[in-house]
């Protein structure tokens, strides 16, 4: 076993295998809870616990995979650029919705984490929960959060958005296709967008457009909105 795990490729192969199996499982079951990333993480964790291989050993290879997170964020510019024309047509409505949604996400997270009296690093980890993972990881790290908590919160948020999204949209009487897409993309990033793809073309385009913009706006909002919100909520809680 040691001969295998000494190699940097161990972590990479284990991740690839777990991801392949998870993709197959999620295609077979078509259940939102069978999110490929969530299942992959569980599988790698289960493998490490079962074999007694240290997490550090796995992360030697894992670092190489982490390395792609930065360039992947840069790549988000490409879908954004392709949808720029659609954005320009309804810029005011789309940008206002994403800005308001991102602000409400930050404020509601600060309120609830303070209500539950959670520690500062945990609050920082939860702040970027509605944005796409590469941006969320970076924001969490920068604000002093715990990255694995952020990753878990982002996945669970995405699944919540995909599962409850259509019902919330119906109850809130959100009617325009553009607004449905903005709602899903702003709140539940790429996982919410998979739901938007099922609903329709305009919804899908608007949802994927919202992912990048919500990420950028959250990064710009969080550093000053958080201290203001924390100061305010500490007065009333």
């Amino acid at each position: 076993m040691q001969l295998l795990t000494d190699n940097l490729l161990f972590g990479i192969v284990l991740s690839l295998a777990a991801f392949e199996i998870s993709l197959w499982l999620s295609r077979k079951t078509r259940l939102a809870f069978f999110n490929p990333l969530l299942i992959s993480i569980f599988m790698v964790v289960a493998f490490l616990l079962a074999t007694g291989v240290e997490e550090e050993v796995y992360q030697k290879g894992g670092q190489f995979i982490n390395m792609f997170l930065g360039p992947a964020t840069v790549a988000l510019a490409v879908p954004l650029y392709k949808r720029l024309d659609q954005l320009k047509q309804h810029a005011l409505a789309i940008l206002s919705g994403i800005l308001f949604g991102s602000a409400v996400s930050i404020l509601s997270v600060v309120f609830l984490t303070m209500l539950f009296k959670l520690d500062h690093p945990v609050i920082m980890s939860m702040l970027p929960k509605s944005v796409t993972t590469p941006i969320g990881i970076e924001l969490s790290r920068q604000m002093g959060g715990i990255v694995p908590i952020t990753v878990m919160a982002i996945i669970l948020t995405g699944i919540t958005g995909a599962v409850l999204g259509p019902a919330v949209i119906r109850m809130a009487r959100i009617k325009h296709k553009i607004a449905v897409g903005v709602a899903l993309g702003t709140s539940a990033h790429a996982i919410g967008t998979t739901k938007a793809i099922e609903i329709g073309e305009t919804e899908a385009a608007m949802s994927s457009l919202s992912i990048g913009i919500a990420g950028i706006l959250t990064v710009l909002l969080a550093p000053w909105l958080y201290p203001m919100a924390a100061a305010f909520f500490s007065l009333i809680l």
């Binding site: 894992g62 995979i65 997170l69 360039p71 790549a75 510019a77 959100i174 553009i178 709140s187």
Partner: protein
């Protein structure tokens, strides 16, 4: 070779973004600066879509794969969230529902307002795309 050439663009722009962010002590992370730089280069047509499309596809089509090691990090911090995870789950669900309603409702209201303004003016565009 095409992927290698395109990889240089993405890795180079990312490193440039990181460098700018660190050198000028900006609050904006380097990867977001990289995103904005690439968007700027695409809009000004200094980089053509074809020059970045394949690598972007490679990175984005299986984006979730790149987060596995970050998620597996949960192993080493599990003891610190063992007691609070029900709260964390509840926060995720409640705030997501609120955010969906907030973002959707504001966009919806502005689009409806623009619709009525347009129809009053007598010219009815398919602005709502309903």
């Amino acid at each position: 070779m095409k992927l290698f050439r395109q990889a240089i663009i993405f890795f180079g722009i990312y490193l440039l973004g990181e460098w700018i962010s660190k050198t000028f002590h900006l609050m904006v992370p380097g990867n977001i600066l990289g995103l904005l730089i690439l968007l700027g280069l695409l809009c000004s047509r200094r980089i053509k879509l074809e020059q970045v499309e394949d690598m972007a596809g490679f990175l984005l089509d299986h984006l979730a794969f790149f987060f596995i090691p970050a998620g597996v990090g949960i192993l080493s911090i599990y003891t610190s969230i063992r007691e609070i995870w029900p709260q964390l789950l509840l926060i995720c669900i409640i705030t997501t529902v609120i955010t969906i309603a907030a973002a959707g409702k504001v966009t919806d209201a502005i689009l409806s307002f623009q619709d009525t303004k347009k129809s009053k003016g007598g010219v009815r565009h398919a602005a709502s795309d309903r």
